[in-house]
Amino acid sequence: MSIQEIIEQKLAELDPSVLKVENESHKHSVPPNSETHFKVTLVSAAFEQFSQVKRHQRIYGMLADELAGPVHALALHLYTPEEWEARGKTRPDSPNCLGGGE
């Protein structure tokens, strides 16, 4: 299973109404077809009443193995259904790499 599929499978536990896992590795200084940089957009009622820091920490906990291994960057855009509606159902873009990974 690819890293992307593992991430998708694990995050499905949150019963998301939107789950989008994007591999952005090609934007960074890594070999072609790498799975190092990901962006996750996830909308779930499970985030209600939790701060952004707590939401992020929950995802980091669920993906601890992947973050300890191959995944180098993980952009998270985590919303409740109401917040997602309010922001017009869009997520921000990630920056391009500046080359200083290691």
Binding site: V53, Y60, G61, A68, A73, P92, L98, G99, G100, G101
Partner: protein, 112 residues
């Protein structure tokens, strides 16, 4: 408790506005750090920073201490505010400016 964790605690307690980043505000070495620096500059308050590329011990220990695996990390008044995604979003909706201005004001008052 390792010496590195003590160092981290000291840095966090002594600096009301502290950014752990890759590179420096003048020369960020990562797109995510660069975005946060830009947001911080937009807030108009002085902030402290630690270049974790020059501090491998902190780079290794802070993620465990903070329960936050990636950099950059912005700490304000002893609390983790977030990484790039949270900071940029807070900047866009104006929350960051309020938080940073308030922290900067506190520091100015305590220095008098």
């Amino acid at each position: 408790m390792s010496a590195t964790v003590d160092t981290i605690k000291q840095q966090i307690s002594e600096n009301d506005i502290l950014l752990y980043m890759k590179g420096t505000p003048q020369l960020p070495q990562c797109g995510f750090s660069a975005q946060v620096v830009q947001a911080m500059m937009g807030c108009g308050e002085q902030f402290a920073f630690v270049n974790i590329l020059d501090n491998p011990d902190i780079r290794a220990e802070l993620p465990k201490y903070a329960n936050w695996p990636t950099f950059p990390q912005l700490w304000v008044k002893g609390e983790l505010v977030g990484g790039c995604d949270i900071i940029v979003e807070m900047y866009q909706n104006g929350e960051l400016q309020t938080l940073i201005k308030e922290a900067g004001q506190n520091r100015a008052e305590s220095a008098e």
